[in-house]
Assembly symmetry: C2
Homo-oligomer: 176 residues x 2
Amino acid sequence: MSMVRPSVHPVEAPPLTDHATPIHTMKDIQGMPGTLGGLLLRFLQFSFALVSLSVMATTSDFPSVTAFRYLVAAVSLQSLWSLSLAIADIYAILVRRGFRNPRIVSLFSVGDGITSTLTFSAACASAGITVLIGNDLNECAQNHCSRFETATAMAFMSWFAASPSFILNFWTLASK
Amino acid sequence: MSMVRPSVHPVEAPPLTDHATPIHTMKDIQGMPGTLGGLLLRFLQFSFALVSLSVMATTSDFPSVTAFRYLVAAVSLQSLWSLSLAIADIYAILVRRGFRNPRIVSLFSVGDGITSTLTFSAACASAGITVLIGNDLNECAQNHCSRFETATAMAFMSWFAASPSFILNFWTLASK
């Protein structure tokens, strides 16, 4: 009987792999909606947009230039959008849930893309005019150059804070 | 012997699955580098940027405005970048290979992001100044308003053609 050896050996069970999840998951990166970093980004966007809006709106002659009117409209939209998403983030943090629904994430991504593009274009147009008034024409004596510059810089800062939100949302959407 | 039936039946081989590829592959979408659609996009970007550059550079007084000088620089960069990538696309189509290397795709994505952002910001600044000269100050009699408008519009068209390239490259990068 010692010659007879079992020909069937038990084999180890293959490791359980979940094929439904892709290889690179980026579920908990700070800055995505529903995280503290995302809330911080929204707060920065909102603050900068609000400062830009108030500085530009308190100059007396901004309605005479189309680009400045456009800047006021764009940063108003940006501040409203960022405030809404900040409230959504606060809610998500309080109930300790993330935004996993692809529809919600795509809505956030498209909205972020639109508002940040509007803010950036308005900031660029205002920067062009501010540089024209200040450097090319040297008419800062009659105009509120420093206020225009502050409002433009704050709009750029708001765009800088809005870009990571957009890129992270878009990345989340694409890697799903 | 008719009672003895083979207890081991041949089973069908499981279908060959490649676990290295994720579920959602977007390998052959037109517009990505190495496709005919991508080549068409590069050609459009290059043409619009070149038209914008030549229209703006033939006005006599563009160097007096900072934003117009910036537009000339930005569309020059855009046309050079699009021409280089168009040549790379033609090569890839001729040898019938795509760009699968993630490093190449990320390089293309970052370059597209930078050039398209520069083109867009220059177009916005020029648009702000063109609207200021044309509508707010009504000084079109002394300036080349129609040329400024044409150059700005062509820069915007170049940006419109550059955005799909950037978004598709970024999507390819993120979904890998």
